[in-house]
Symmetry: C2
Subunit: 914 residues, 2 copies
């Protein structure tokens, strides 16, 4: 016989590294078992078994036998048999995938109970109580029937799809008959009757009796867990989170322990240290005489974990010992679930605990100080997402404001403004200088202008993938969505909150996009101390320095040492360049020159566009030259000694002219009124000439440079003259000239030849050497696909991943983000907008092709990226993997990119040495 | 020592397959030499030597020695020494690359002459004349000095860059002094003086004396040929023609023979059969007592080759024998150049001769009949470009029309219409039903509307890459450009032709885009007999069938047998489908459904777009359903038994609404005038809501299908219901449902699930099985890059190479073709528009990736292409190579695609068996 796949692992056979096979829960139960901690005995059925079951539609051969063997071992360990009439072993059946996943079947408790064993359970519970010195046969009887009732309810609902509310109705009916509102008032007889009622419900819906055979219960429950992997919500969640659809889930079968057997029993949760501050200590909650689900249901109030010391010193001391042991073992904050059954402590679950962003930094450095981890590992323990959260301004404390409600934290930040209820008002008020918050039931593409004008957006409907949420995140605008307690009355221009509080148009509200809180009135916004630190306003070495700032400083410094990639900033002005430098930028990766054509300079551009002759065009260019030169002198000074990549003009020329529709209307109305409009008519002709159906795909970038004589030449001259001026003044300008929108090496060759000629000419004339590089954006699929050719003419590539995403996917961010991204996120087509996190399969593949083939042609080709993905954590890791030399992002994202570049380096090193 | 590269080949060492190394001219000279034909002795310096010279900037080591050896052998064969004072050997130095290339140095004759050998040449010429019986010492003297004069002139100009007009001036001066206008009146003394004058010019420009050493002359001439490879015009030509820049040119050094030594000498050109009809016979021209350049200069009139029989029967017979030999050897029509030196025939060049499109087909079948080639080879001898030329309507003969002038044949076809001189008039007249020809000095993007409205375009300036030419070819519109004899007076609304002929606005003219001819008056247009044949109106088996039609039929039939790829048509109506079938289409590769939403149906689309509720939207869809169904019934009937690929709605919805600018103007003007405009205002709001900055990159294709509920469902229902109806009527509909604009497999999965549900429902209801496939367009780079995933959900891929070209290059055809393609073609950035011929490096690479990875996932994945490249000859070969199952193109291009698919198959088979 061929060797049989092993489908079932005893807890003693697994460990925490086996999450792929045993799921997160099973792997950690195994780990605790092997640490010698008191875990109820049990075993895990692997995700491989699940996959085999789902592929074939039947139980894989050998699985039933393996379960039987492990069950026998479990029975022998416990000294009981599953569902035994006299002394039944009961088990719980729980799903446990590699990633925790809403929508999957969670748990069936008390498997093994039937019409006979329910009596045995009652007897044993009574006997146990006697042993423990508190015999109460009635309570034991009640406990057993309540357990049976729960089994039928959970089993019926989750295994056999019986509608849950039928059971609820029956329970309500029983309580009503008894004249009580509390389950606890139902006695053993009531519950026995309820069991009968439940069985009737079960038969009606399934066409069969509630299964009495314990093993059948177990097998059906296991199969139900397998099948829940493909439940609709789970499928959707996986699509959204990009979890592979074929992982499958493991199933844990564990001997039941009961926290509800009396005052000497109980259940609790705990953290091994404070998840908010990271401080060591005792953090947790305990509920005596209860089961885990009672804690969640909130029927009774929990007590602080410290109180357990008074209630059960032995268990308390044991628990503290175990917590210390776990933390030392996992080298991190753990959270745990435990149960005490008649004075005996059982560990039901542990995992590395969640924490706030601030705590993550503080805990990581504390663990270093405690010698549990090193700085590399500390760097691993924090994320750029957490750092970014810490950089948003937050609401201060102490203001007398009213918390109205909480919605979903859809897009972080803190925003204050007057409530407005439509886009029109938002735009009008904001133009007159008012700060506004746009409040809508939900938003749609018509609200776009208002969203742009507002400080933040508040909606009463829709989740984190709603239109409002998606668009706000895309804009980097604060948003709270799905605040369902609010009744938004757009026509009445007001909303009503809980308790009838009314907010009228014009009233000031404050929304916290990081927590989802909505306040009435103005909450003072305080700057982030982390930003103050990056700005150099806080000294992390100071005696009284903030604990968080110290931790951030320490981890950032280590990341800077560790990382291979440089981090640059996208900056167009000396001010931005200076700020970027303070934030740690090591150069400018993208200096856009188009803003230099706006404002009062627009007149020259208009002249350039309207030029009827070479002479007029040259005059317009000559007027722009000194202005451009001045711009560059300032930027080179701010970035002295660091590389500055200047991109030649990119957008289509008509962007510098009025909108065609507005101008057409103006001309037509003037004509209708018999007013003079000759100048406007001339302008309109130019606008018509330059109008493009799809300007994103039109005459821009290098195409402009080739078609409009003298344009790029003027820019190159300004750049080199500025650098020459800086050199003469003793400066150290490091010039990189970047040609945008190149498709073919021939384009680059043409522009490069001209640029080199001009540079040579300027240097000769000025009598100074200006070292410079000439390179190109890789922002079109064809450029990436022919990068091997393009590298012949380029000294560097900078990936323009915004445009590359637009053309690779064939959608323009402006047009489609509002129009259909929310629908796409909701239907699970993307997990995240490809403009936010680089799409590795599509756009990323092009980046990889271009990097490899560019370097094959020119081994010293400098590779960078200057799209917005340069500041996105996940994308930064990808760029590290692909081997880029630097990422460039907005100044504010520079610290995030630094941190993630460091993490990427440490993680790669870690995986290399494995 | 390492083995030395061999740089020089004697003619006897080469053959016609060595074009890479020896160039076209050298390879054919070698071939003739080895056939034992009378070729003047000589040798070829390889293109490898050229490359080595250009790479290092100096003569590669060993080359000088090799030349010396071969020169010595040549001298020994001729019994003369190069430049010998008494009996000089003279040689010509000619370039000869693999591809003939304008801009490269052509020829230096008479190398070896100097102040001494000129006397020897005179003596030898005199002696030769005596031997031949016609001594004339003065003539011999004159011949020698004229030869020397020519050497200095050619050498100075082409080797040393001396301005050619200086020599011309000196020659003019000499003639003036002599009082004549004819070179032949200059005697030996005049020419000796002219040699002195030339030498002075040479010294003034080069700073050195004219080189007297024969070997130095030879070496300098060879290097000049090498360097001419990088002459500006040659570089530009290579860029445009996509000839690799690193091929280099070979150099041929050949012993001089003279056709101008007296009446027993002469020179001529000939074809081995009629290049127009293909008929066997004697076709050529002869000029006695002349050199090749005199024939070109047209100083004297040539005589028909037949006259040579009378002049020199021996040479004539020998020539006819050689021509028969060459044709038998090359198995094709050859053209040749020959010289007779004092009764001795010398072959100077041969190559496979050019011919008209019609002759190509006729000759190919004749060669088959003569047993020279087989049908595979005949298929190889014709091209889709030739077939396409034969399918254009042509001007008939016999009409009394006046040929005005000839311009460049920029875009083929025959167009007749009234001359108009601006775009506005073109549009206005054409709207009122007039056919117009737009006449401009040159066109620019402002003329676009007029070009669309006109039957054809005529310009007086610009070449085949001018704006007019490029845009017209893109539109498939007839164009003659660069008719420089015409004086176009746009303001005066007329043009003046040669001889002062004036054509006023409104006068009828006719232009022939295939020949470049411009006629005054209406030339009757006759349909192509080849099209009549494809339409089934001409029977190729008929006794009196046209020779051309017979040949086309025979070759097409063989191509159909040979080809692996199927050919389908893009057709949206039953009429188009029927025509396509007649043209040989084996199905529909693209049936666009968007036209089915126009005309009177537009009202339902407007209702759909303006719908305020689900109910309204559903009503609009329900109204469209029966109309769509009817469309499909007609198409399935026309394509009964053949596959029909129906593409679901692709364009953005706002294309069905009025233009935003026009509507805004209408609303604003109505408002200014105080007129009612409520309905228009409501429409304007919808237009605003749907307006996109870049509709090409917006909400269209599958995105619409996912965002607009019920839209795709209605279309799928209509398709399946139509197919069910056809099945019930005994038809055989073969349905392929195609989802456009897919980026990610998730999109396709969603649409596919819905479509399968509907198809199942319809089939159940109708009680009939409708087999169908569901597949997708691959028209976005991301789809190509993730094709391996997409193939999981697609049963076929159809490459939409128009959109794929747009997004891969990042330019939209509408916007940029007019704006910068002509500049790009002129600067050599493309050789051909990537919308015309598939860009293999960029777009083609994506097609290859998607084909390979799609098939890796699903080996039976059906692969096709439905972009316009499906009818482009070069692209068809690429699709064959990549392994597509079919190409689909416009009905009219179907024969071209069939032919090229056949050729591709034959060529691949040929190269496989090599």
């Amino acid at each position: 016989m061929a060797s049989q796949t092993k489908y079932v692992y005893d807890f003693a056979e697994g460990n925490r590294d086996m999450k792929d096979l045993l799921g997160g829960k099973g792997a950690n139960l195994a780990e605790m078992t092997n640490l010698g901690l008191p875990v109820p005995p049990g075993f895990t059925i692997t995700s491989e078994a699940c996959k085999a079951y789902l592929d074939s539609g039947e139980t894989p051969s050998g699985l039933a036998g393996e379960i039987g063997e492990h069950l026998a071992a479990l029975e022998s360990a416990m000294g009981k048999r599953l569902g035994d009439a006299d002394d039944p072993l009961l088990v719980s059946v729980r799903s446990g995938a590699k990633f925790s996943m809403p929508g999957m079947m969670e748990t069936v408790l008390n498997v093994g109970l039937n019409d006979e064993s329910v009596h045995g359970l009652a007897r044993q519970a009574g006997a146990g109580a006697e042993t423990a010195g508190g015999a109460d046969p009635a309570a034991a009887e009640r406990f057993a029937w309540d357990s049976y009732r729960r089994l039928i309810q959970m089993f019926g609902k989750t295994v056999c799809d019986v509608p849950g509310d039928e059971f609820e109705h029956a329970l309500e009916g029983a309580k009503k008959a008894k004249g009580t509102a509390n389950d606890l008032d139902l006695d053993a007889n009531d519950l026995r009757a309820l069991v009968d009622a439940y069985k009737t419900i079960f038969v009606r819906h399934t066409g069969r009796d509630f299964p009495q055979a314990p093993r059948e219960q177990l097998d059906l429950a296991i199969n139900a867990v397998f099948e829940s992997w493909n439940a609709e919500r789970a499928v959707l969640y996986r699509r959204q989170e990009r979890i592979p659809a074929d992982l499958g889930t493991a199933v844990n079968v564990v001997a039941m322990v009961f926290g509800n057997l009396g005052p000497d029993s109980g259940t609790g949760v705990a953290f091994t240290r404070d998840p908010a501050s990271g401080h060591q200590g005792i953090y947790g909650d305990y509920l005596a005489n209860a089961q885990g689900e009672d804690v969640v249901a909130g029927i009774r109030n929990t007590v602080p974990l410290q109180d357990l010391e008074r209630l059960d010193k032995t268990s308390y001391d044991e628990l503290l010992g175990i917590m210390a042991r776990l933390e030392e073992h996992y080298k991190d904050l753990c959270d745990i679930e435990f149960t005490i059954e008649r004075g005996k402590l059982w560990m039901l679950q542990t995992r590395v605990g969640k924490r706030t962003a601030a705590a993550a930094f503080v805990i990581a450095t504390q663990l270093v100080d405690e010698g549990l981890i090193d700085l590399d590992e500390a760097l691993n323990r924090v994320t750029g997402v957490q750092l970014a959260q810490l950089m948003f301004p937050r609401f201060g404390e102490g203001a007398e404001v009213e918390l109205l409600t909480k919605g979903m934290n859809a897009s972080p930040g803190a925003a204050v403004g007057r409530a407005v209820f439509d886009s029109y008002t938002a735009v009008k008020w904001s133009r007159s200088g008012e700060k506004v918050i746009l409040v809508r039931r939900e938003t749609n593409p018509d609200d776009l202008d208002g969203m742009i004008a507002a400080q933040g957006i508040l909606t009463s409907r829709g989740g984190k993938t709603s239109h409002a949420a998606v668009v706000a995140r895309g804009m980097g605008k604060t948003c709270v969505c799905g605040a369902e307690e609010l009744d938004v009355d757009t026509k009445g221009r007001k909303f009503t909150g809980p308790g009838g509080v009314v907010v009228e148009e014009g009233d000031v509200i404050s929304i916290d996009g990081s927590s989802g809180a909505v306040y009435r009135g103005e909450v003072p916004v305080v700057p982030s101390p982390v930003v103050e630190y990056f700005e150099g306003q806080l000294d992390p070495a100071a005696e009284d320095a903030d604990e968080l700032v110290k931790a951030v400083h320490r981890i950032m410094s280590h990341g800077d040492e560790a990382r291979r990639m440089a981090v640059r900033a996208n900056a167009d002005t000396p001010e931005d360049a200076e700020r970027a430098r303070r934030f740690g930028a090591q150069g400018i990766g993208l200096c856009r020159t188009e803003h230099m054509f706006l404002g009062e300079r627009r007149q020259y551009v208009e002249r350039l566009i309207l030029a009827d002759s070479d002479d007029e065009r040259e005059k317009a260019l000559a007027a722009l030259l000194p202005l451009q030169r001045e711009d560059f002198v300032g930027i080179f000074a701010a970035m002295d000694g660091l590389p500055t990549t200047v991109r030649l003009l990119d957008p289509p020329l008509h962007e510098f002219l009025p909108d065609i529709t507005e101008l057409s209307v103006r001309v037509a109305v003037a004509e209708a009124r018999g007013e003079a409009h000759e100048n406007e008519l001339r302008l309109l002709q130019a606008v018509h000439r330059l109008h493009e159906q799809n300007p994103m795909l039109g005459l821009r970038g290098v195409r402009l440079g080739i078609v409009v004589p003298g344009l790029f030449a003027m820019q190159v001259r300004a750049i080199i003259e500025a650098a020459a001026e800086r050199r003469k003044a003793g400066g150290d300008p490091r010039v990189e000239i970047m040609i945008p929108l190149v498709d073919a090496v021939q384009e680059l060759e043409l522009v490069r030849e001209e640029a080199e000629r001009i540079a040579h000419e300027v240097c000769e004339r000025e009598g100074v050497e200006v070292p410079y590089l000439i390179g190109t954006m890789i922002e079109l699929p064809r450029a990436a696909l022919t990068a091997g050719q393009i590298a012949e003419a380029a000294q560097f590539f900078s990936f323009g991943t915004n445009d590359l995403t637009q053309t690779t996917w064939g959608f323009s961010r402006d047009d489609v983000e509002a129009a259909f991204f929310s629908a796409y996120l909701e239907r699970g087509i993307f997990g995240v907008s490809p403009f936010e996190t680089l799409d590795r399969d599509g756009v990323g593949r092009l980046v990889r092709i271009a990097s490899e083939e560019g370097r094959a042609t020119r081994p010293d080709l400098k590779l960078g990226i200057c799209g917005e993905h340069g500041g996105d954590p996940d994308s930064v890791h990808f760029f590290h993997e692909v081997g880029l030399d630097y990422v460039s992002c907005s100044p504010f994202r520079v610290p995030v990119a630094r941190l993630e570049a460091g993490r990427a380096a440490v993680q790669t090193a870690g995986s290399d040495s494995r």
